[in-house]
Symmetry: C2
């Protein structure tokens, strides 16, 4: 079933791609097998992250960037990450609707990912869905995050090139961004730059960039001005994104870093798989005999956990997880 | 060491409390032992969550609520949760500074918690720090979250009573809040209610509340107006918070729900402890022999993970984790 689905996906079947994404996102048992099967076909796509504060026009910009890549004949996968804030549903939806005009284009595949149900696993799911889009043959995979926060920083680790989008009103934001954001940014964009204060914020960003790494071989973060709603500045943005990729590809590879990243992935896969099994084993009656004492208040969850960890029962269950 | 620290904390030592919080937050090995030791002293404090969109004045309101509880002679613990958005550092800091005027008061203990370093574990850490404040003898534990998002919803699961703070400008927000927020709200507050549109938003909230559960025994979510900066409406807020607690305490207890919650905690403690050990075991050389093949591209992380999971090596390592 998995093998057949992967074969159909690799042959270009969009329904198969969609089904595999669902399996991966929901951490179905066949997930490692799926990812192993598509792995030989990955490594070709350029993964581009687009992030920034709410209201910066990221979806509009993403929509425009898709358009430019398509005109250049490049196939585009999009992962639209939505941390489903309870306080910001509507605006996001509206912006995303615009982007969906590309959904009818066979050279575009858009997938939305939400935090709900993938507790803490959003960056993992994003990475794996990007792998699937890569294997499917997309030349470019765009990852757009809507919210702001640690989740978004984690998600951006997946990207080869990260575009941080700000607006003229982001002055206060820049003062407080500090290290985090310059560390992840490869390109700064001041969107809605027809508004007052655009040039000032661009200069502030440039001053910040000046403090970063310099010298021969270092990437110099460009600070671009765009008006995404009118398509202004988007060509230059795409050009700088491509330049960053070229710079990245020309750097000597660091085998230790590559190994560290792979070992990290392997370790997480093992621990996660094991944890899921152990969770099931614990739920399968292992705790029942503590129920009365717990409800009576003569013991507590932490004491029980320590007892179970020390028990022989657990060994038997653990071996079942092997 | 742990035993002594817990004894000193329970005797009222603030330095000991602070050290225990650090141990718990950083998931130190002695964490379950600490929590088990303080458990018998927990269950007395009223845990109150204060959440809402950025700019709603939550910190100012929290500051005022602390003040009212202190005047009533109640001891107050505060967990200030900061999802450390890379895009919103400054404002938060300023508001929090105001709250810190209470830090010199022996009847108040304020602890900040940040997402950084506690990947996905913010709601766990919040809950456990609330336990420590409870055991320390605080009558009330306030949990204030600054950002918005799934993280905040998760954090609020810890609270007995959740106050959702909005402002007159939150009209659009309310249209898009939908189920999520009414599900967690026990009290709605329209803060900065001296601004235009306050009454309109209050009516909208009331209309929303009308759609919720009703009838004898159901809690009717009040919608209050405050001007936190002037202390207006805060007395009534505290009164409604207390009323919610009284309503909650009067409800018949559901042993199945209590057991489910305890079993969930136990399971997570076991799986987490095991995962941490297994992670260490995998890092201790278990993957070294795959390095060359991985770097040469003749295998991939997913295939290696499946191989390791099927290997006898892993069993030996797993048993070391017992």
């Amino acid at each position: 079933m998995t093998v057949e689905l992967v074969a159909r996906m690799l042959a270009g079947n969009r329904v198969a791609l969609s089904k595999l994404m669902t399996a991966v996102e929901s951490r179905a048992p066949e997930r490692p097998a799926i990812l192993a099967a598509v792995y030989p076909r990955t490594g070709r796509a350029h993964v581009i992250g687009i992030t920034g504060p709410p209201g910066a026009g990221k979806s509009t910009l993403t929509d425009q960037v898709i358009d430019r890549f398509r005109r250049a004949g490049r196939k585009v996968g999009v992962v639209a990450v939505d941390p489903s804030s309870p306080f910001s549903g509507g605006a996001v939806l509206g912006d995303r609707v615009r982007m969906m005009r590309h959904a009818a284009d066979d050279g575009v595949f858009i997938r939305s990912l939400s935090t709900r149900g993938s507790h803490g696993g959003l960056s993992r799911a994003t990475k794996e869905i990007a792998h699937l889009l890569d294997a499917f043959g997309m030349d470019v995979v765009l990852i757009e995050t809507v919210g702001v926060g640690q989740t978004e920083l984690d998600v951006m680790e997946v990207a080869h090139t990260t575009v941080v989008v700000l607006v003229p009103e982001s002055g206060d934001t820049i003062q407080t961004m500090k290290a985090g954001i310059t560390e992840i940014a490869d390109v700064f964009v001041v969107n809605k730059s027809d508004r007052e204060g655009a040039e000032r914020i661009r200069r502030e960003l440039e001053a910040m960039v000046e403090l970063g790494p310099r010298g021969a071989g270092a990437w110099r973060i460009p600070t671009l001005a765009t008006v995404a709603a009118e398509g202004k500045g988007v060509d230059e943005l795409v050009e700088r994104i491509d330049a960053h990729r070229a710079w990245r590809d020309a750097r000597p590879k660091d085998p230790d870093a590559a190994w560290a990243a792979a070992a990290h992935d392997i370790r997480d896969l093992i621990v996660e798989r094991f944890g899921a099994c152990l969770r099931g084993q614990v739920d399968a009656g292992l705790l029942d005999r503590y129920r009365d004492a717990l409800l009576a208040g003569t013991t507590d969850p932490y004491t029980v956990a320590l007892e179970v960890l020390a028990s022989e029962d657990l060994v038997a269950r653990i071996l079942l997880c092997k």
